[in-house]
């Protein structure tokens, strides 16, 4: 991947909400419950896939030994 490609990809990564305790006011974000639950469903599947893959790689490393 070229530096240009990486730079383009970097622009697509969403920003976290950074804050310094005591110096800034609390986040003014108005949570969208429907969106939160939809993201939770996607993340849950993503975590499950990651865990399955991790388990598989663990098993294959045991086989290799």
């Amino acid at each position: 991947m070229s530096d240009k490609d990486l730079s383009e990809l970097n622009k697509k990564v969403h920003d976290l909400n950074y804050a310094d305790i005591g110096k800034k006011t609390k986040s003014e974000v108005k949570p969208d419950v429907k969106r939160g639950l939809e993201l939770a469903r996607k993340i849950k599947e993503n975590i499950q896939t990651y865990q399955d893959e991790t388990d598989l790689s663990h098993q294959s490393s045991i086989t290799a030994v």
Binding site: K12, L16, Y18, L39, A40
Partner: protein
């Protein structure tokens, strides 16, 4: 699924800061009632905060930028702010870092680097013990010689119960650790 906590907890946490450990996000994804509870805290004036290291652990399953953004959007949508100075605190407060490590070992804790940074962050606000908390389910990693378990939140599932605890600073730690 059911959630059990002291009824006055939400009002107690008004105007407080609660640092969230990685397991809080995993439980929120898994348990809608707990997710709603976190939203209630945010909506009732409690500031939910975390550190970059937690984001790293939580988003470990992402394989693409799109998938990574799901995690970021989830955190942002919960109203969670990220405190970016955790590692600076490690440099600024070297002596307590050493003492904390020693205390964790004495306590038999196997605290990860993330847990360690979160505990360090909690200690940073030792002079405001009723305003800054850490929420985690890793009880064994938090030395009770330094930190006090203030509240428990029980998350009931079909197959069992999990709990999240709210820790705050003990104010009289000079008696319990060797300086």
């Amino acid at each position: 699924m059911k959630l059990t906590y002291r009824t006055s907890l939400v009002s107690q946490l008004y105007n407080s800061y609660v640092f969230l450990d990685t397991n809080v996000f995993f439980h929120a994804v898994d348990n809608e009632d707990f997710y709603s509870f976190l939203l209630t805290l945010h909506n009732k004036g409690c500031a939910l905060v975390t550190i970059q290291s937690v984001i790293f652990e939580f988003s470990r399953g992402a394989k693409t930028v799109e998938e990574y953004n799901w995690y970021i959007d989830y955190i942002n949508n919960l109203g969670v702010a990220v405190y970016g100075q955790a590692e600076t605190e490690l440099q600024r407060n070297k002596a307590f870092s050493v003492l904390l490590q020693a205390e964790c070992k004495k306590y038999g804790s196997k605290a990860s680097y993330t847990d360690f940074l979160l505990l360090l962050m909690l200690h940073k606000f030792i002079h405001t013990p009723d305003r800054v908390y850490l929420m985690t389910s890793n009880y064994r990693d938090v030395p009770t010689t330094l930190f006090e378990r203030d509240e428990l939140i029980a998350l009931e599932y079909e197959k069992g119960v999990q709990t999240q605890a709210l820790y705050k600073n003990k104010t009289d730690i000079t008696d319990t650790i060797e300086i």
